[in-house]
C-alpha cells in the first residue's frame, strides 16, 4: 500500500462546493482519479454526479474547493480550458448541435483550417479533412450505423447521437475521458461496444470517469466505484470488496463505508 499512495491522481477534487441559488448540488465533494483506471461514479438522481464532473469538464465553476490536474491546481472557466488539459467529456445532455452535421459536431469548437493562405488569411475550414477524420473516428469506434458524415445530427436516433458524442470525446481525449451516462440511450450491442471502448481506453493508459445507473455495467468495467450521496462522497469501494447490493445501500445511506473499507488509492 505504501508504494501506491505516492501516485499522483490525474484528476483530483478537494472539498468542492457548488450551489444553484438555494440548491446545494455539491456540498464539499472529493474525488480522485488515478492514471490508467476506470472510476465509476454512482449515486441516486440528484446526488450531484453531473455537477461534480462538470467542474472537471470546465462547464461549472465551483463556488469553493480545489481542483488539481496531475497535482497542479487548475481553475477552468470554460470547457475549452479543460480540453486543453486533455480532459474530454460526454455530457449527459450530449451537447451536440442538432442542425449541424456529424463532422461539424465532432470538431465543434476546435475546427481545422485549411493549410496555407486559405486557412491563415481567409480562415477557410478544412471540411474535407474533418469529414474524412470524423469518418475514421467513427469507424475506429465500430459505429457502422452512421453512414453519412454530412447528415444533420437531429436526423439521427437517440443512440446514434450518443455515439457521436462519445466519438467526439474519444477522438480528442489525450488524458482523461469523462462519460456521463454514455449508454443511457444505447441498445445492447452499442452498450457493449462502449464498455469495450472504455476498457480499450484504459489499456491505452487513459483515465476514465464513468457515471452510470447500470450496476452490472459498472461492476464489469470499473476499477473503483465512487459513491456520491447528497453532494458528498459517501465512499469509494471496489467491485471485489463490495456487492451491487452493498453499493445500492451506500447510495441510499443504509450502509456506511468504514475508513478501512475505503479504497482511496489505486487498486493495481
Amino acid at each position: 500500500m505504501s508504494a501506491t499512495t505516492t501516485v499522483t491522481p490525474v484528476v483530483q477534487g478537494v472539498n468542492l462546493v457548488k450551489t444553484f441559488g438555494r440548491v446545494v448540488a455539491l456540498d464539499g465533494a472529493d474525488l480522485e482519479l488515478y492514471p490508467g483506471e476506470v472510476l465509476a461514479v454512482v449515486g441516486d438522481n440528484g446526488a450531484g454526479k453531473s455537477s461534480l464532473i462538470k467542474c472537471f469538464s470546465g462547464a461549472h465553476i465551483p463556488d469553493s474547493g480545489e481542483m488539481l490536474i496531475n497535482g497542479k491546481k487548475v481553475e477552468f472557466k470554460s470547457t475549452s480550458e479543460a480540453r486543453r488539459h486533455g480532459v474530454e467529456t460526454v455530457f449527459q445532455t450530449l451537447a451536440v448541435a442538432p442542425a449541424l452535421d456529424i463532422a461539424s459536431n465532432l470538431y465543434l469548437g476546435r475546427e481545422e483550417r485549411k493549410p496555407g493562405v486559405m486557412g491563415a488569411v481567409f480562415r477557410t475550414l478544412d471540411k474535407k479533412r474533418m469529414r474524412a477524420d470524423s469518418a475514421q473516428h467513427l469507424k475506429d469506434l465500430g459505429i457502422s450505423t452512421l453512414q453519412n458524415i454530412t447528415q444533420a445530427v437531429e436526423t439521427l436516433s437517440g443512440g446514434q447521437r450518443q455515439a457521436v458524442a462519445v466519438a467526439r470525446a474519444v477522438a480528442f481525449g489525450s488524458q482523461v475521458i469523462i462519460l456521463d451516462e454514455p449508454t443511457a440511450a444505447l441498445g445492447v450491442n452499442e452498450s457493449a461496444r462502449v464498455l469495450k471502448m472504455i476498457q480499450d481506453l484504459r489499456d491505452r493508459g487513459l483515465s476514465v470517469i464513468l457515471i452510470s445507473h447500470n450496476m452490472p455495467q459498472v461492476f464489469e468495467v470499473a476499477d473503483r466505484i465512487h459513491v456520491a450521496r447528497l453532494g458528498k462522497r459517501a465512499g469509494v469501494v471496489t467491485p471485489k470488496s463490495h456487492s451491487m447490493n452493498d453499493v445500492v445501500a451506500i447510495m441510499t445511506g443504509a450502509m456506511k463505508v468504514t475508513a478501512e473499507e475505503q479504497q482511496l488509492t489505486p487498486v493495481n
Binding site: 462547464a59 448541435a97 447528415q151
Partner: protein, 349 residues
C-alpha cells in the same frame, strides 16, 4: 455481414419514405429551395398579368428597390441565426445616415460641429462607425446584461430614433447639398439594357462575403451552433457570448454601409426612417427560409426573400392592384414560411 444487413435495412427504409417525406428531407437540406420556388412562381404570375414586368428596365427597377432592404437583411439574418432579432435596424440606419450627411454638410441647424471638416470621405467613415456603435450598444446590452434581444432592440429603436432627432434636428439634407461621393452608390451603370446601381453590386458583394463566411469559417459555424443550441455550443467550448456580441457588431457594420447606400439610393438624408424597413428586413429573412428559432437558414435564402418582397410590390402595382394586396400577400407568405420551417424541423432521416 452485419454491414450488409444494415445497408439492406436502410435501403428498405428509404423506399418506404413517402414523396412528402422526401420533399421534407430535401427542403431540410436546402432551405432556400422553397423561397426560390415562390419567387419563380411570383415572377411567372406577374409576367402573365403584365408582360412589362420582365422588361429590362423593370427588372433593373426591382433590383434598385431591393438594395436597402436586401443589404440590411444580411445583418438581420446573422442576428436571427443566433435566435435573436433586431427591431432597431431601421432606426440605427437612419442615425448612421444622418450622422454621415450632417458631418459632410455643414448646417447651422445641426447640433454636431463639422468635425469631419466637411470632408465626405471622413463623414462616410464616421457614419459607418456610428453604425458599428449601434451594434456595439445592442450587443453589449444583450450579452452583458443578459437581456432578450427583442426587448433590447425595442428599447434602442426608440433611443436611436430620439438621438437622430436630438442631434440632427428634424432637418432633411437635400440632394443638391449632398457631396457627390456620398451619392456614389446611387450611380448606375449599363449592362446591355439593364441599369444597375453600384449599390446593387455592393449588396451582392456583401452577400457573397457573408455567404462564404457563414459556410466556410469557424465563426460562421459558431453562429449557427449558438442559435441552434446555446448550451451545446457552450459545452463544446464556444464562447456563446463572444459570438453573439460579434454578430451584433458585424450587423452594425452592415447597417453603416446600408446607411451610405440609402443616401445614394434616395439622394437625400431624412431623419424619418421608412416605417416598413424594420419589418421588411425580418420578413425577407423569414420568407427566405431562416428559422426565427435560430440555427438554420441561409444567406442566399434571404436574398431571395428580399427579392420576393419587391417583386410582389412591383408586380402588383404593374398589375394595377392596390398595395393592400401586397401587404396581404406578404403576410400570407410569412405565415407559410414559418409553418414550413416548423414542418421541416421535424425531419427524420
Amino acid at each position: 455481414m452485419s454491414t450488409a444487413t444494415t445497408s439492406n435495412l436502410t435501403e428498405e427504409f428509404h423506399e418506404r419514405r413517402t414523396p412528402l417525406q422526401r420533399l421534407q428531407g430535401v427542403l431540410h437540406k436546402y432551405p432556400y429551395l422553397s423561397p426560390l420556388i415562390v419567387l419563380v412562381v411570383a415572377v411567372v404570375i406577374f409576367y402573365l398579368l403584365n408582360d412589362r414586368f420582365l422588361l429590362p428596365q423593370n427588372i433593373s427597377f426591382v433590383t434598385q428597390q431591393t438594395v436597402v432592404v436586401g443589404t440590411l437583411a444580411i445583418a438581420q439574418t446573422l442576428i436571427i441565426l443566433t435566435a435573436g432579432i433586431d427591431l432597431s435596424i431601421g432606426a440605427a440606419t437612419t442615425l448612421a445616415q444622418m450622422a454621415m450627411a450632417n458631418l459632410a454638410v455643414y448646417t447651422t441647424a445641426s447640433n454636431v460641429l463639422p468635425i469631419a471638416g466637411q470632408n465626405p470621405y471622413v463623414a462616410i467613415f464616421i457614419g459607418i462607425l456610428v453604425g458599428v456603435l449601434t451594434g456595439v450598444i445592442n450587443g453589449f446590452l444583450i450579452v452583458r446584461l443578459s437581456l432578450p434581444p427583442f426587448i433590447v432592440t425595442l428599447g434602442t429603436l426608440s433611443v436611436f430614433t430620439a438621438l437622430t432627432l436630438i442631434l440632427f434636428k428634424a432637418r432633411t439634407i437635400q440632394k443638391p447639398e449632398m457631396p457627390e461621393v456620398m451619392q456614389w452608390l446611387g450611380n448606375t451603370f449599363q449592362i446591355g439594357e439593364f441599369q444597375l446601381l453600384y449599390g446593387v453590386v455592393m449588396m451582392l458583394i456583401l452577400y457573397a462575403i457573408f455567404g462564404y463566411i457563414l459556410k466556410n469559417t469557424a465563426w460562421g459555424l459558431h453562429v449557427y451552433a449558438v442559435g441552434d443550441d446555446p448550451n451545446a455550443a457552450e459545452l463544446s467550448g464556444i464562447s456563446t457570448k463572444r459570438v453573439i456580441f460579434s454578430v451584433y457588431v458585424v450587423a452594425g457594420l452592415i447597417v453603416g454601409i446600408a446607411a451610405w447606400l440609402t443616401i445614394g439610393r434616395v439622394g437625400s438624408a431624412s431623419p424619418n426612417p421608412d416605417p416598413l424597413l424594420n419589418l421588411d428586413t425580418i420578413t425577407a429573412v423569414v420568407i427566405g427560409g431562416t428559422s426565427l428559432f435560430g440555427g438554420r437558414g441561409t444567406i442566399l435564402g434571404t436574398l431571395i426573400g428580399a427579392l420576393i418582397i419587391t417583386v410582389v410590390q412591383n408586380g402588383l402595382s404593374l398589375a394595377g392592384l392596390d398595395q393592400a394586396y401586397r401587404v396581404l400577400a406578404i403576410g400570407i407568405l410569412v405565415i407559410i414560411a414559418v409553418a414550413t420551417d416548423q414542418w421541416i424541423r421535424k425531419v427524420k432521416a
